[in-house]
């Protein structure tokens, strides 16, 4: 019987951590975990920005509305819209996590993951239509 020595056991290679992480087989839960983490980082970064962007409220009407006009420009609108999918996925998957932890969610966590994406994307596109309805209708000549 061959002797098992520590150097023969496959362990996590810290120097190649990106490669090691990417090599893992990913299933529903791992994807949910990855997207939850990424959307969470994006949301807390936005929250800092959000407080900063509203700080002009202390400088009165003109200062506030000048700043808000900038946020109504197309690049910012698109960024706001993209932010919404982060909010949606993080919220829906967050509910999924609570159901897995505190209810019977472990039995149907895969369906909940798919549900999160479907509901999230539907609401995302509905919001897109609401936000850009003027431009969309103009494009179709209405």
């Amino acid at each position: 019987m061959p002797e098992i020595t520590p150097d023969k056991i496959k362990t996590f290679d810290q120097k190649e951590w990106i490669k090691e992480n990417l090599s893992y087989h990913k299933d529903t839960g791992s994807w949910a975990w990855i997207f939850h983490r990424l959307s969470g980082i994006a949301l807390i970064a936005y929250l800092f920005l959000h407080v900063y962007s509203l700080s002009t409220l202390t400088h009165g009407k003109e200062a506030f509305e000048t700043k808000m006009q900038a946020f109504l420009s197309p690049p910012f609108l698109i960024m706001e819209w993209v932010l919404f999918i982060f909010v949606l996925f993080h919220s829906l998957n967050g509910v999924r996590i609570v159901l897995v932890d505190w209810a019977d969610g472990a039995r149907y966590h895969k369906q909940l993951y798919v549900f999160s994406w479907i509901v999230g994307l539907i609401l995302f596109f509905v919001m897109g239509f609401i936000m850009f309805s003027h431009e969309i209708l103009k494009f179709f000549g209405k």
Binding site: G40, I44, F48, L54, G60, K61, M68, F71, W102
Partner: protein, 125 residues
């Protein structure tokens, strides 16, 4: 023996709070989106802000939203760092940055909300 296996100080409380605040934030977020983005003006004009802020209950909701948002977000960031086996000095530094940054921005947010004057502005006809 069992004393030392208790999960009391292992982050179990923060785990429970992360779920409670998360659920609260989902509810608050739905209200926030409906109120702020139902019409472009409701989130982007000074009058609309003053009008909302003339209700004390709205200010209380806003302050709650702000506090819970930063708590949940920064606790989540700390949760990411907890996944890695960091050295103690690094842990202490990261927690310090998160706590100080969080308190600074929550205080800033509070001061913004409190600085908004009470009373309705007469909007243009």
């Amino acid at each position: 023996m069992f004393r030392y296996q208790s999960s009391k100080n292992s982050g179990a409380k923060s785990w429970v709070w992360q779920r409670i605040t998360g659920l609260a934030l989902v509810v608050l977020m739905i209200g926030h989106y409906i109120l702020m983005h139902y019409h472009p003006d409701s989130g982007h004009t000074y009058e609309a802000v003053i009008k909302r802020m003339s209700f004390s209950w709205y200010r209380i909701i806003d302050l709650t939203f702000l506090t819970l948002g930063f708590y949940h977000g920064l606790n989540g960031i700390w949760g990411i760092f907890r996944d890695y086996n960091l050295k103690n000095w690094l842990k202490i530094s990261i927690i310090s940055v998160l706590v100080i940054g969080g308190i600074a921005f929550i205080t800033w947010g509070y001061s913004i909300i409190f600085s908004i004057p009470y009373g309705t502005v007469v909007s243009k006809p």
